[in-house]
Amino acid sequence: MDYVFKQLINALNTGSIYALVAIGYTMVYGIIRLINFAHGDVMMFGAYFAFIFATSLPFSDTAGGVILIMLLSMAAAAIMGVLIEKIAYKRLRRAPRISALITAIGMSLFLQNLALLIFKAEPKVMPALVPKTRVDFFGLDIPVLTLYTFGFSVLFMVLLTLFVRKTRPGKAMRAVSQDQDAARLMGINVNSVISLTFALGSALGALGGVFYSLSYSQVYPTLGVMPGLKAFVAAVLGGIGNIGGAMLGGYLIGLLETVTNGFLSIVWKEATRWTDAFVFAVLIFVLLFKPSGILGKHVKEKV
């Protein structure tokens, strides 16, 4: 039982990271129908921002310092996300979707190489900002790091949900996602709504990057590739365009990985080799049998 519990904790940790990153994919898709493949690389830059702040700020290993580093990295990544949209995607808003998709892939490669140029290929070791200890949390034995990852992920997801549902800018976002032209006619500034979407998505992606680098201790230019793709699978699994779906999908993918690595591997030794294959098989099955995902609505194509 103890073992099952420990593995579930691992699943919550990875799941939180996937959920955070998946939200960025799903929000951008919801607003401008673009699969932003550069999102995983914004996550990577988020990790590098955290690395820079962690190694330059004097009080980085205090609890307040960790939160400050998180917020600064999120802010930096938000600015980055907005700039990416303004520079690369804005002009293509009326272009065929395939053009925008190719641009996104190009942007992803550009960001990876930019990181390679600035930070070099050798992995940077992320300082252990959060102690590697375990705490007793309401009778449960949990690593402090998972407490941070899970706690802050849920906090920011709740804040995002409230923002989208309860505030005027959130309402504007929902309006733009339903019908951009109608929203514009109603006096909504579509450009600033899109910028806001990129800022929020990138900030949450960066938070995922920060926790990824804290959990797995290293930062390197291709860090965002695999978790980015898996978060994309999570977004599709939950129903792309649906924020709640992205969160659910993220935790399900985290659970799938942990079940493969931690349980299936006990009865079947080779299972750890197949973890990535299983995750991407999910993508194929969802696209084949339920393209709208778990929480997504089936949209009839208008003629």
Partner: protein, 374 residues
């Protein structure tokens, strides 16, 4: 018109000069290793070790009135890239011998080409058993994966008295698998408990498998992998309560004390040499290397340094840089001054030398034991 003539003459002179330049006789040693990327730690060490040896040889007057020239190319740690740079070294630079590839995977990739062309290859660090198999011209300065894994298991069984052990290795890496299998064999031969666990090259998340390993309550967990992976594994293991379990590794752990001293504290690995070894030639090498590059040499640098000196001795024995003669000289070589232990090759081209067991203590290497191979 006059200008054009001047230009043409200038170009011809330039070409002539550069031709003269490349015609100037040196003894060329090609070095292949990952000089960029996550594993550049290893390639750069090999390049530096080789260049230091060449520099010392040249300061002592070179050989046959020629200087040694080390030409190092980046394999990025990838077999296909290794073949590209091998071709460049052989066809374009016309090297006399090759010190490389640094990784077993890369060395295996260039093996067939090197055998066909009869180039003397002395790999400093490729530990996979197949590297020297059925290849008269390929030698290595390090011991093999299987020997290394065996000695590690022997140390775990005899000194650490570990009756229950686990192996956690990288399934995508021949080096990692080679050590793991030898370790497993030794444990099975001793009729002790051994379990194996694997990870992929492109994973960062080891937490689920580590949790499984932790639940097995092992005395020793053997992790034969390179520093980038080992560091991440030990860091994640630190958040899981492993109690008294001891982690062990092979020569891929060399350098672990740099970024991961706190999570590797008290753990053991087997290596080619220890920079804290008090022997005079070791301390001279460490001092010279540190003076040249500002960092202490790791085992790979030491092996590359030895490899260039061993080639120097072979050229001397052969009396020329003729490939066939050099290969014959290498086969009969006995080079006693090596900092990683005296080098003499067996019929395969593998050296018979002592293995050092090191414990990481407060960020430095402490020599625990030296085991001589049979």
């Amino acid at each position: 018109m006059k200008k054009l003539t001047v230009l043409i003459v200038a170009i011809i002179v330039a070409i002539g000069l550069s031709a003269c330049d490349s015609g100037e006789e040196t003894i060329k040693i090609g070095v292949i290793g990952p000089l960029s990327g996550a594993d550049s730690l290893y390639g750069v060490a090999v390049e530096r070790g080789a260049k230091l040896a060449a520099k010392e040889i040249n300061e002592a007057g070179g050989l046959f009135d020629k200087d040694f020239e080390v030409i190092a190319y980046d394999s990025k740690g990838q077999p296909d890239e290794g073949v590209n740079v091998y071709n460049r070294l052989v066809d374009q630079d016309e090297v006399d011998a090759i010190v490389g590839g640094t990784f077993s995977g890369v060395t295996l990739a260039i093996k067939d080409l090197a055998v066909q062309e009869g180039i003397p290859v002395l790999t400093p660090t490729a530990t996979h058993p197949d590297v020297t198999l059925d290849a008269d011209n390929i030698f290595r300065a390090c011991y093999t994966d299987s020997y290394q894994g065996e000695v590690a298991a022997q140390f775990a069984i005899e000194t650490l008295e570990a009756t229950k052990a686990a192996v956690f290795y990288n399934i995508d890496d021949a080096y990692s698998e080679g050590l793991a299998l030898a370790f497993i064999d030794a444990y099975e031969a001793a009729e002790l408990t051994i379990d194996d666990y694997t990870f992929n090259a492109n994973t960062d998340d080891y937490s689920a498998v580590l949790t499984t390993i932790q639940s097995g309550d092992y005395d020793v967990v053997f992790v034969p992998a390179y520093v980038a992976s080992v560091g991440a594994i030990l860091t994640q293991a630190a958040t899981i309560d492993f109690g008294e379990t001891i982690f062990m590794g092979g020569d891929g752990w060399d350098g672990i004390e740099g970024d991961y001293a706190d999570v590797a504290e008290g753990f053991y690995f087997v290596n080619h040499y220890a920079k804290t070894d008090p022997a005079q030639n070791v301390q001279d090498f460490v001092a010279n290397f540190t003076a040249e590059y500002g960092v202490a040499p790791n085992a790979l640098a030491a092996l590359a340094y030895d490899a260039v000196y061993a080639l120097h001795a072979a050229f001397e024995d052969a009396g020329s840089t003729d490939r066939a003669a050099v290969i014959a000289a290498l086969a009969d070589l006995s080079y006693a001054d090596a900092v990683t232990g005296a080098i003499a090759f067996d019929a395969n081209g593998d050296p018979l030398k002592a293995i050092t067991v090191i414990q990481v203590v407060e960020g430095t290497h402490v020599v625990i034991d030296k085991v001589q191979g049979s």
